[in-house]
C-alpha cells in the first residue's frame, strides 16, 4: 500500500517537473517561430537586418539568412513533439516523419547556412568561433543521432538527439538571457556576448546532465 502511494507521489512529482521544464520551452519556442514569420514578408525594416544592412547587400548572405531562419522554424517546431513518449508509443509515424524533417533541415539547410553566416556574426573572434563550433556540433550530433537509429541503437540515438536539440535550443535560450540582461541594464555588446556563451555552454551542460540522469540506471549495471 505504502509502495503504491509512494509510486503515485513519485509519478506526480515527475509529471510536475516535466511540465515545469516543457512549458517555458514550448512557449518560448512557439514565440520564436511566431516572431520569425514576419521576416518572410522580405521587408528590410527589421532591426536585425538594418544593423547588418551591408551584409544583406550580398545576395548569397541574404539567401543563407532566409534559408537559415526557415530551417530554424522547422527544427524548433518539429523537435517539440520528438521527446513526447505518448507520440512515440501511439503514433510512431509522426515521430519518424518529424524526425526526418528535422534531420534533413539540420544537415542540409540549417547547419551549412549557419556555418557560412558565423563568419559575419556580431562580436569578437571568439564569438564567431563559438557560432562555428555550434554549427559543426549541431551537424555532428544530428548525424550521429541518425546513424544510431539506423543501427537500431535507440539509447544512443536518444542521447545524440538530446545533444542536437540542446544546440537547436540555443536560439531560444539566447533570447531569454538577452532579455534578462537587458532588464538588468547591461551594455548591449556585453549582454550579447555573455548571453551567447551562457546559452551555448549552459545548454550543453543541461543536455549532459539530462543524459547522465537518464543513463544513470544503465551505467549502474556495469558497476560490480
Amino acid at each position: 500500500m505504502t509502495n503504491s502511494r509512494m509510486l503515485t507521489l513519485q509519478q506526480s512529482v515527475r509529471f510536475f517537473f516535466k511540465v515545469l521544464f516543457w512549458l517555458p520551452i514550448t512557449f518560448f519556442s512557439l514565440l520564436l517561430v511566431y516572431n520569425t514569420l514576419p521576416y518572410f514578408s522580405f521587408n528590410k525594416d527589421f532591426s536585425f537586418i538594418e544593423e547588418r544592412s551591408f551584409l544583406f547587400q550580398n545576395n548569397f548572405y541574404n539567401t543563407c539568412f532566409y534559408i537559415h531562419i526557415l530551417a530554424g522554424m522547422f527544427c524548433i517546431s518539429t523537435s517539440l513533439i520528438q521527446f513526447s513518449r505518448m507520440i512515440l508509443k501511439k503514433a510512431r509515424a509522426i515521430h519518424r516523419w518529424s524526425g526526418r524533417i528535422y534531420v534533413f533541415v539540420v544537415l542540409f539547410l540549417g547547419a551549412p547556412t549557419g556555418l557560412y553566416m558565423s563568419f559575419f556574426a556580431k562580436g569578437s573572434f571568439w564569438e564567431r568561433a563559438l557560432f562555428m563550433f555550434m554549427a559543426m556540433f549541431w551537424f555532428f550530433t544530428t548525424l550521429k543521432g541518425l546513424q544510431m537509429i539506423l543501427k537500431k541503437n535507440v539509447l544512443a540515438h536518444k542521447l545524440w538527439m538530446i545533444r542536437s536539440y540542446a544546440m537547436a535550443m540555443t536560439a531560444v535560450t539566447f533570447r531569454v538571457y538577452h532579455l534578462i540582461f537587458y532588464i538588468m541594464d547591461w551594455d548591449h555588446l556585453k549582454n550579447y556576448e555573455i548571453s551567447l556563451w551562457i546559452s551555448v555552454l549552459g545548454n550543453m551542460l543541461v543536455a549532459e546532465s539530462i543524459i547522465y540522469l537518464k543513463s544513470r540506471n544503465y551505467l549502474k549495471t556495469f558497476s560490480v
Binding site: 511566431y34 547547419a111 559543426m136 541518425l146 555588446l189
Partner: protein
Amino acid sequence: MNFLNLKIKNMKAILHIGAILMVGASIYGFIDYKRSSNEKQFRTLYDNKEEVAMRKKEKELSSARGNSATLHAETSTAAAIPEVTTKKINVRKKKTINYKEFSRARIDEKISKEELKAKATKGSGKIETKEQ
C-alpha cells in the same frame, strides 16, 4: 536516394552531401569574409551608429571652436561639451518587455527610437533629460 526508406547504405550519401555542404560553406564563408573584411563598412558594421555620430559631431564642434578662438584653445573643448549635452536628447528608457523583443536584434536602440518619435510628436519644446 529514397529518403522515405532510410537504410545504413544511404547514410554514406547523406554524410557526403552534408559534408560537402559544410566544407563548401566554410570555404566560401572564409573567402567572403576575407573579401569583405577589407571594406570599411564591414569593419564598422556593428558599431553603435548613434554613438559614432555623436562622437563625430563633438569632434567637429571642438575643432571648429579651436580654430576660431586660439587663446582659449584648451578651454574650447570643455566649453563645447556642455553645449552638446544641452542639445543631447536623453530619452528615459522604460524597461518594458514586448514579445516582439524576443529576438537576436538590438533591443534598446529600437525602443529609444520609438520613444524619441513619440516625444517629438508630443511637443516641440525641451525634452527632459532623465535616464533610468
